[in-house]
Structure formats: structure tokens, C-alpha cells
Symmetry: C2
DNA sequence: AAGTGGTCTAGACCACATT
DNA sequence: ATGTGGTCTAGACCACTTC
């Protein structure tokens, strides 16, 4: 690991373990540079990540201060399964569809590919702690996800992507709105027809700029919970 | 403005105006350094912001490439009014409550202040394009928002904070879930009792680490729409 | 082998806050 | 006046990609 990340981890640890306490002033750049045997700029890079995390505030002329403790945000840069496991829950999947189709106009636009390109189309009901909770409608380019099988979809597609294919997820866009359950959704999620569902539309980017997923998930309202934090750029 | 921000703006402009086109390779660091008469590190800082924006991907060994066009994300680091205006909508407010109260246990924890500290407590119904759309329950420390009047709450509190008090918003945390309308909400939002609403709980931080707002907003499901993008840190 | 980004240094200079 | 962070430079060295 590179130096500034090591320093970042070390200082983060100190904050989380209260070695540096809330509102306490951190040592200045020069002192930290001596401690970690590096230049002040390298210290700055480490502290800048802590600032983005919201754990530190730096004030020109007065110093760097410890701020709020880390809050546990569910990252939507992981899959449904990884998030559930992080919260100690069991996930199974019920595949409604696993097919390869040519991209139509709309899908091609979302996936930034050409019409006719081959696309995995997967519809799954995710069952969390024995409760049908989400129905996920997912589109992924075959040329990126080459080798994806129905077995992977039973488990975690994200783990296939990161562990097997060694691809790295960079970012995602997300839109949340409320929709009414149609017949299929009603049946599979065990809710009344026209009951309200939380619709989440996502486009997920790899760090090379490629899009590997476009999906629409519909969640039951009882179970849906989303939390995040923003930092102004 | 500092150099790297100027360079960032310039290059962003070139991408948005298609001078640098999608998937096109940008000039390398040394060339850009010559063009902008600066060091390569300064170029890197500018390009790094474009990477965070998702507009550029940098690949060690091969170069920097233009990626997807900017998408219009509604920032929740602005107020309800600013967001509505950006979408060309009219906002008015109907104040249900404007009081100053001492912080109880729960509020003190959320606002990271002491029990008994004075807090503005404001409840407003926001009417967007003649439709009652959100009921906002807001708590703000008096010592930070000193001078806030009921007139400001009729308009935009955010504009008071940024324009009058010259405070800068740094970040926010946000939680979304679905709840049932109680009597007050049902009446004011003109929906049936127990109808579902989108509850958004927010804590907003200033760049000095202080919290200036804790709020719970409840939106009608017909109108709620949230979009954002994440970047993995 | 050549091209290109990423990390790191030492030091200069500036902007802002505190005393 | 002093302390502290922010920007910027010039150059070294390394890691990865392409040819």
C-alpha cells in the first residue's frame, strides 16, 4: 500500500479508537511529517481523505480538528447481498428470468453501447431473512461480464465481478421514486396490486469508464431503508 | 481563483462543448503543463476533480480519456426552494410552527450540542406549483443561525445562511424510508390517513464541522424524486 | 523501449487565524 | 509576530501499457 493511504488508515484508527478525541486538535503537518517520516504534502493527502470522510476539518491558520464519528452508510456501490450481510442478514434469490438479448434503443442508451449488442437480462426476487423484499431487473453487457452463469446470479454478481473478473467499480448514478406494484410484482413480493413500491434505477460504472450494469429495483416499502452522506465538491 | 480550479473549469468546458469528444484521449500531463504554463502536478489536481465528476478516466500507462457527459443531479446540499427553482417550479411555504425550544436528549445528540441549548424549531408545509408536497420539521441551533426570523422561513433559509451569514455547507447525511401519514400530515398534504409518505431525515454540516440543521421531511409519494451519483472513495 | 500516470520530496511563497 | 494550512514548482523514481 502507498504511504499516504497507510497514514490515512493509521490516523483514522486513532480517531475511531478515541486516541484523538472529538474536537481535539491534531498535530500540525510538520509534526506528523516527522512522525511518519514523510513530507507535509503526503500528510496533507492523507488528511484530505479524512476530510472527505467527514472525520476531520482543516482550518487554515488554526489547525486540523477531529469531527463527528464515522457513520455507517450503506454503500450502493456494493450489491444487495453484500449490504445485507453487513447488517447480519440472510439473502437468497429466486430467478424469474436469465436470458441474453440484443440491446434495444433504451437499453443501449443506458448502457452506452450499440443497439443489438448482446446483453444479459436478469430478473430476480431477493429474499432477505425469509421475506421477499426486492425485485431486481438487471441489464449487463455480455462483453464485459463474459462467463456469467446462472449460478452466479443465485449468489452475488458483485463478488463475481470483483473477485473473478478483477474489475473495479468506480461510481454509480441512482434515482429513487415511488411506483405502484403491477401483477408480477404484487405476486412475487406478496403485496396488494397497486400497492406502493420504492423504485431505484441505477447505472453502475467501472473505473475504466465502462458501464457494467443498468438496473431497476423495486423494494417493498416496509423494508426499504437508504442512507448516505454527501460532500460538496 | 486558484490555478488548478481555472484549469479544471477550462477543460470541463472543452468536454461539455465537445472540443474534447467522448472516448477521446486528452493530451498528456506534460503537454497540458506547457499549455497552461504550470507543473504536471497542478494538471493532475485539475484532472482529478474531473475524475471525481466522472467526466474523465485516467489510465496509468495509456492516458486520460473523456467519459460520460455530466448528468444533472439534484443536490441535497441545497434547500427545497433552490432545487425547485432549478427545475423551474414555484415554491411557497405555509408555517405551522416557529418556536425556540431547549434541546432535549434526542435533538442534542443529532445536533451535537448540549441538552438545554436553544434551538429553532420550525414546521413548514412547502407548496410546489400550488400542490402541498412536503412537510418539513426542522431543528437549528440558535447560536449558529442567530438572527433568523419568520420572514426567512417563508422564503429560503439556505439563502439566509449562505448569503447573509456567509456560512459554507460542507456535507450532509441522509436517510430515506417510508412511513404512514398521521393526522396532521394527512390534513396538510391532502392525502388519506395512513397513506404512505417518503420520510427523509437529514443532518447538514458546515465546513467548520458544526451542524446547522437536523430535519425530517415527509414527501408525498407522487412527487418524490431523488437522484444522485456516488463515487467510491 | 518509449509513453504516460502515480507517488513522493524539499522548499518557496501565500492566505488566514490567533496572540 | 508566529503558527498553520493551501498552492505551486522541478525533479526523482516507480508502475503500468503499448509497441
Amino acid at each position: 500500500m502507498v504511504k499516504y493511504l497507510k497514514i490515512y488508515e493509521t490516523i483514522k484508527q486513532r480517531i475511531l479508537e478515541m486516541e484523538y478525541r472529538l474536537n481535539e486538535k491534531l498535530p500540525d503537518g510538520a509534526s506528523l511529517g516527522k512522525e511518519f517520516d514523510c513530507s507535509e504534502l503526503t500528510i496533507k493527502k492523507a488528511l484530505d481523505i479524512l476530510v472527505a470522510d467527514g472525520l476531520v476539518v482543516r482550518k487554515r491558520g488554526s489547525g486540523s480538528f477531529v469531527k463527528r464519528p464515522l457513520n455507517t452508510t450503506t454503500s450502493h456501490l456494493h450489491g444487495t447481498k453484500a449490504n445485507a450481510i453487513k447488517h447480519g442478514k440472510e439473502v437468497t434469490s429466486n430467478n424469474l428470468k436469465f436470458e441474453i438479448i440484443p440491446a434495444d434503443e433504451r437499453i443501449a442508451e443506458r448502457l452506452n453501447c450499440n443497439r443489438g449488442d448482446l446483453i444479459y437480462h436478469i430478473i430476480r426476487v431477493r429474499i432477505i431473512d425469509s421475506l421477499p423484499t426486492v425485485i431486481e431487473d438487471t441489464y449487463m453487457p455480455v462483453n464485459i461480464l463474459n462467463g456469467l452463469t446462472i449460478e452466479h446470479t443465485q449468489d452475488s454478481i458483485y463478488s463475481f465481478i470483483t473477485n473473478q473478473l478483477k474489475l473495479k467499480i468506480h461510481s454509480s448514478t441512482m434515482e429513487i421514486s415511488i411506483v405502484k406494484a403491477n401483477e408480477i410484482e404484487s405476486e412475487n413480493l406478496n403485496v396488494p396490486l397497486n400497492d406502493k413500491l420504492v423504485a431505484v434505477e441505477q447505472i453502475v460504472y467501472l473505473d475504466n469508464g465502462d458501464i457494467f450494469e443498468y438496473s431497476i429495483s423495486k423494494h417493498t416499502t416496509d423494508t426499504y431503508h437508504f442512507s448516505t452522506n454527501f460532500v460538496r465538491l
